[in-house]
């Protein structure tokens, strides 16, 4: 079978990630500085790399998977046995799931704005200028919004770690092997099957793994930053106070 150049990524696919990015980056306004860095890392080093590079590397994963047999169906079955779910699909799901907790924050902000609008209307300040100001003002990350933000960060970290673990379980050692031996029906005996572009796939897997690790570190740093900031504010307003008292106040607020 002649070696074919990798397929160009579908332009509609690029457009859909772009619209997804537009939705997620709307949350950016209410994030901390670290949150914005995380979003840039996510978009540039993960989504963009996935769309412009990784998808072409994995594009011929099935057509380029060749087994040393002419038995029809053996290729298909062995491919299915060794690659239950492709890296590309796992990464796409990971990126979608990791980005969605940010929408919790967006929903909370929208709810707060709605409540503020109602309060303004009841207090008689219902001119369009005031209502516009509510729409454009940046919400402070305090009170219930602080909790929503921190919980969304924990969800992000949870999803990242879960997917890294899944990768490890399905593809042990994160390495793509060159040769797999397969004896599932209808292969006549143990046949050698060769994976397409194994080294390039290993390079990209390690790269995506490293960036995933960086994102986890950014999320942990953001959690520590928020906790530190909130504790610092508590110390400032309440004078001398113990950590226990701060935790109690946070839980009861």
């Amino acid at each position: 079978m002649p070696l074919t150049p990798p397929a160009e990524p579908d332009p509609e696919l690029k457009m859909n990630w772009a619209s997804f990015y537009a939705v997620i980056s709307g949350v950016n306004r209410h994030s901390t500085g670290i949150g914005r860095i995380w979003l840039s890392v996510l978009f540039i080093f993960r989504i963009l790399v996935l769309v412009v590079a990784a998808e072409s590397v994995w594009g011929d994963e099935k057509s380029g998977f060749t087994c040393n047999t002419q038995q029809p169906g053996c290729n298909s079955v062995c491919y299915d046995h060794f690659f239950p779910i492709s890296h590309i699909r796992l990464w796409a799901l990971q990126l979608i799931l990791v980005s969605t907790p940010a929408l919790l924050v967006a929903m909370h902000v929208a709810h707060r704005r709605h409540v503020d609008k109602r309060i303004y209307k009841l207090s008689g300040r219902s001119n369009p200028k005031d209502l516009e100001m509510i729409k454009t003002q940046k919400m402070k990350i305090s009170g219930a919004l602080w909790w929503t933000y921190v919980i969304s960060l924990f969800f992000r970290i949870g999803f990242e770690v879960t997917f890294m673990y899944l990768f490890y379980m399905i593809y042990p050692g994160y390495k793509m092997i060159r040769l797999v031996k397969c004896d599932s029906y209808p292969c006549p005996n143990t046949v050698d099957c060769f994976v397409s572009r194994p080294t390039e796939k290993t390079v990209f897997t390690v790269f995506m793994l490293a960036v995933s690790g960086v994102c986890i570190i950014l999320n942990i740093a953001e959690v520590l930053f928020l906790v530190g900031k909130a504790y610092g504010k508590h110390l400032h307003t309440a004078g001398e106070s113990t950590v226990g008292a701060w935790i109690q106040q946070k839980l009861c607020s």
Binding site: N16, S63, P72, G73, V77, R89, A92, I96, T100, P186
Partner: protein, 244 residues
């Protein structure tokens, strides 16, 4: 498939939805449309070209593929998403009709009173366009019907998928003896495990959407019941005050 066009239409509905409706719309676009486009379509991309039968008989593969896959999962999901997204447009149509009616009344009213300036008329028309109608009266019924239709379509398509594919599992091997296959031949499906994973995922998200719709419907019914009870109390109080 131009999903952004559908998204643009539905975002307009979002303004007149309840909070649960807004959550439903986000789940629909992120976990169903996005996943369909960026992941599922590439899994099913080679479903016919990589469907291999253990025979050299020309036409056998075509015929067997057609027998076991009358409608592809991808097409069923696209249709399901289209059908499920259209009932909310009923709500948009009704809101547009209400706005049109109120605009007409406003213009007629200002035409009679000549001292109303153009600027205040423009401001009124603007507020009319931007206002959010409360979900009561005929709008409540339209919204409730749109929810019912959504539930019916979701359930119907899930049932259709279950019946056509005999469950949500994709087998690795199917045995086919349609003409012109010489005898019972083994045919192998491409990427069956990945397809099963995505089928289960899409079915789960579909069920979550159904739960959201049912919760929204219960919320609307509860809101209507409390509103009518409050209305009754208010009427009783007023009549007792008038009697006194």
């Amino acid at each position: 498939m131009s999903w952004p066009i559908l998204y643009a239409q539905l975002v307009g509905v979002n303004r007149h939805s309840t909070s649960l409706g807004k959550v439903w719309l986000s789940v629909l676009f992120i976990f169903r449309v996005m996943v369909l486009v960026v992941a599922a379509e590439s899994v099913w991309g080679d479903e016919q070209s990589d469907f291999t039968c253990n025979t050299l008989q020309p036409g056998c593969e075509n015929v067997c593929y057609d027998q076991f896959f009358p409608v592809s999962h991808i097409r069923l999901w696209c249709l399901q998403l289209l059908f499920v997204s259209t009932p909310p447009l009923l709500v948009t149509m009704y809101v547009a009709y209400r706005n049109q009616r109120d605009r007409k009344r406003l213009l007629e009213g200002s035409g009679r009173s000549s001292f109303l300036s153009n600027k205040s008329q423009e401001e009124d028309l603007d507020t009319l366009k931007r206002r959010r109608l409360p979900i009561a009266g005929a709008l409540w019924w339209t919204y409730a019907f749109s929810l019912l239709f959504r539930l019916l379509f979701e359930g119907g398509f899930m049932y259709a998928l279950y019946v056509v594919y005999d469950g949500f599992h994709m087998p690795r091997l199917v045995q086919c003896d349609q003409w012109p296959c010489p005898n019972l031949v083994d045919c192998f499906v491409s990427r069956p495990t990945e397809k099963t994973i995505f089928t289960v995922f899409m079915t789960t998200i579909s069920s979550i959407c159904m739960v959201l719709n049912m919760a929204e419907l219960s919320y609307l019914v509860a809101k209507a019941v409390t509103r009518s009870l409050c209305g009754q109390k208010e009427r009783k109080r007023r009549s007792s005050r008038e009697d006194a």
